[in-house]
């Protein structure tokens, strides 16, 4: 098993609350992603055995949602909101700066596996734009100085 005992236990717990088994598909994928940072066919098979739903139905659902990447990404996932409220306050220039500083294009991961940079749609931080989500955390009201400092602290392992 690739899924840990802890994850499987959490999946079982969550699944038991749903009136129908398929309801547990998204929570299972979410828990698997939390453990691994990706989901793929092997994971669908394992989830399928735990929640007793055909693998195909799990794969089908997973294909629709952007938060279930099929491959692992960098240790820090940098998600820059690129929608209008952030863009009006310089989000495009912020992505350019990140591309330059990390020497990667959006969608890519640095060679050391530390950073993956992607631009994403609205993250609900419009009144505190521009912003970036790094793993689970939002960093809002960003300025060039704040962003540079943030990047440094991540490079130095916080």
């Amino acid at each position: 098993m690739i899924l840990s005992e802890k994850t499987v236990k959490k999946i079982r717990e969550k699944a038991s609350k749903y009136p129908k088994r398929k309801g547990a598909i998204l929570p299972s994928l979410t828990l698997a992603y939390k453990q691994l940072g990706y989901v793929d066919n092997e994971i669908y098979i394992e989830i399928s055995e735990v929640i007793n739903v055909p693998q195909l139905e799990i794969a089908e659902a997973a294909s629709f949602y952007t938060m279930f990447p099929k491959k692992p990404r960098g240790k820090y996932l940098l998600q820059v909101c690129n929608n209008i409220s952030c863009a009006l306050l310089g989000a495009d220039a912020m992505v350019d700066r990140l591309e330059e500083k990390l020497a990667i294009k959006r969608g890519e991961t640095t060679d050391d596996g530390l950073f993956t940079l992607i631009s994403v749609e609205c993250l609900g931080s419009c009144c505190t734009a521009p912003m970036i989500q790094i793993n689970d955390d939002f960093h809002e009201n960003l300025t060039r100085e704040k962003l540079d400092k943030l990047l440094e602290s991540l490079k130095n392992g916080k």
């Binding site: 009006l88 220039a93 700066r97 994403v120 609205c122 419009c126």
Partner: protein
């Protein structure tokens, strides 16, 4: 940082106010804890409802209050609840739509992060009104902090008997599941949301049947926005007449507005419906004017799904009817301000890229149409536009509008149509001169 999100609110002005209520305690650092919530009168409405009111009475009170859906459509909440068939032998479900993802909107997030119990209490009252014993809170997956707060609050509510079996000795059982999304705007559309809970792709469903008749697992289901549900405990505590005394005749109560873009004081503000958009933008207690002393170019009043307003139309009351009359919509209350140096073509390109990306792909006009629109608008933005491109845009928009299963298609084209009408010269300039009319530079 005192709060997880540093977003500005007008809670201080609201303190002690006899009308504004949703944001009353959102600057209280401990409001998210049950103890503090109870001290501020929390769960009193839930106790009243379970102890003294029949479900029909709850529905009647909410109907009388004039509360309308705050997610964007503005449908009367009490009336929606009354659509659940009384004699149905099936289970009934209530879903709180906390998939806040309409660009420009970040109000529900504040409620969930800072006052999570009021959301749970509102959900519970709604659930009781429709005879539901299992309710869902669908929170967008990126909102880790909201999810944490709602999870913690739910645990607390269970542990003190506000949720679970035989609540307050009434014999009423109510369970709650927090279901998290995974990055799909479509799941904020009610039928996409239901599919997502069922473990399907978040695609729209054809209506009828409406969810109130056949929703989750073909059972009667009600989907309400966070802000609508958060207003419900206040309505029960203070009465429908009190709620009706705020706002306008047809748009009762208060509304949260997220003010963003080129504005001096971006933030979330609670005001009575009918409040002046002009005042929201320029008054020093709210937006305090356009940033960098620039002139106003356009306002998107209700999230990116709503038509743009020209500066001469900004002197408008923020209520459902007045904005419709002005040619736009109140929507979700996401007010986005654009100053004079903003290129309309660039702005629209941002929006259409978003809608094309988020189109679920189920129906052809939206799936294909948003792609065509993006290609043409990208071409114009890149200086490769042709003389007949605007007519093509007009035609494609016209063929999407009103011809899709869910409102995403309409949402994608209405802002485009409004700019093709009100800023046509700028579109033409972009095509003829192969560049923007304005000098746009949004540095960082």
């Amino acid at each position: 940082m005192t709060f997880y999100s540093p977003v500005l609110t007008n809670a201080k002005e609201i303190a002690g106010h006899d009308k504004l209520h949703l944001f009353e305690f959102v600057e209280d650092e401990k409001q998210y804890q049950l103890k503090r919530y109870l001290k501020h009168g929390g769960y009193a409405a839930w106790k009243t409802v379970l102890g003294k009111m029949k479900p029909e009475e709850v529905i009647e009170e909410v109907k009388k209050s004039g509360l309308r859906g705050r997610g964007g459509a503005g449908f009367p909440t009490g009336m929606k609840w009354s659509f659940v068939p009384k004699d149905s032998p099936k289970e009934r479900y209530l879903c709180c739509n906390a998939d806040e993802s309409e660009p420009g909107t970040c109000k529900d997030r504040v409620l969930m992060e800072r006052d999570p119990h009021v959301v749970i209490e509102g959900m519970a009252i709604g659930a009781y009104a429709i005879g539901c014993h299992l309710m869902f809170c669908y929170i967008r997956g990126e909102f880790h902090h909201c999810i944490e707060r709602i999870e913690k609050a739910t645990e607390e509510a269970y542990s003190k008997g506000h949720l679970g079996k035989n609540i307050y000795g009434s014999g009423y059982d109510l369970e709650m599941i927090i279901h998290t999304g995974a990055g799909a705007y479509m799941c904020g559309e009610e039928t996409g949301l239901l599919n997502s809970i069922e473990g399907e792709k978040g695609m729209a469903r054809i209506r009828p049947p409406f969810p109130a008749i056949e929703g989750l697992w073909e059972c009667p289901t009600i989907v309400n926005n966070v802000e609508s549900l958060a207003a419900v405990p206040h309505i029960i505590n203070r009465g429908a007449d009190w709620y009706r005394s705020m706002g306008t005749e047809k748009s009762a109560g208060t509304k949260l507005f997220s003010l963003s873009g080129h504005i001096n004081r971006p933030g979330n503000y609670e005001v009575e419906l009918g409040f002046s958009l002009q005042k929201l933008i320029y008054d020093s207690n709210y937006g305090n004017g356009i940033s960098d002393g620039k002139k106003l170019k356009a306002v998107i009043p209700g999230g990116v799904s709503t038509p743009f307003l020209t500066p001469d139309k900004v002197d408008v009351p923020l209520d459902y009817e007045s904005l419709t009359e002005a040619g736009s919509m109140l929507g979700s209350g996401g007010v986005i301000v654009l100053h004079e140096d903003t290129c309309i073509v660039w702005t629209i390109l941002k929006l259409i890229k978003f809608f094309r990306h988020e189109s679920c792909g189920k129906c052809t006009p939206c799936r294909e149409g948003t792609g065509w629109l993006e290609q043409i608008i990208q071409k114009i933005e890149d200086g490769r536009g042709g003389p007949d491109d605007l007519e093509k845009l007009d035609s494609i928009c016209g063929n999407i509008l009103g011809r899709t299963i869910c409102p995403l298609g309409d949402a994608a084209v209405m802002p485009i149509q409004s700019t093709l009408k009100d800023w046509r010269d700028e579109w033409l300039y972009h095509i003829e001169h192969k560049k923007c009319l304005v000098k746009q530079d949004f540095g960082f």
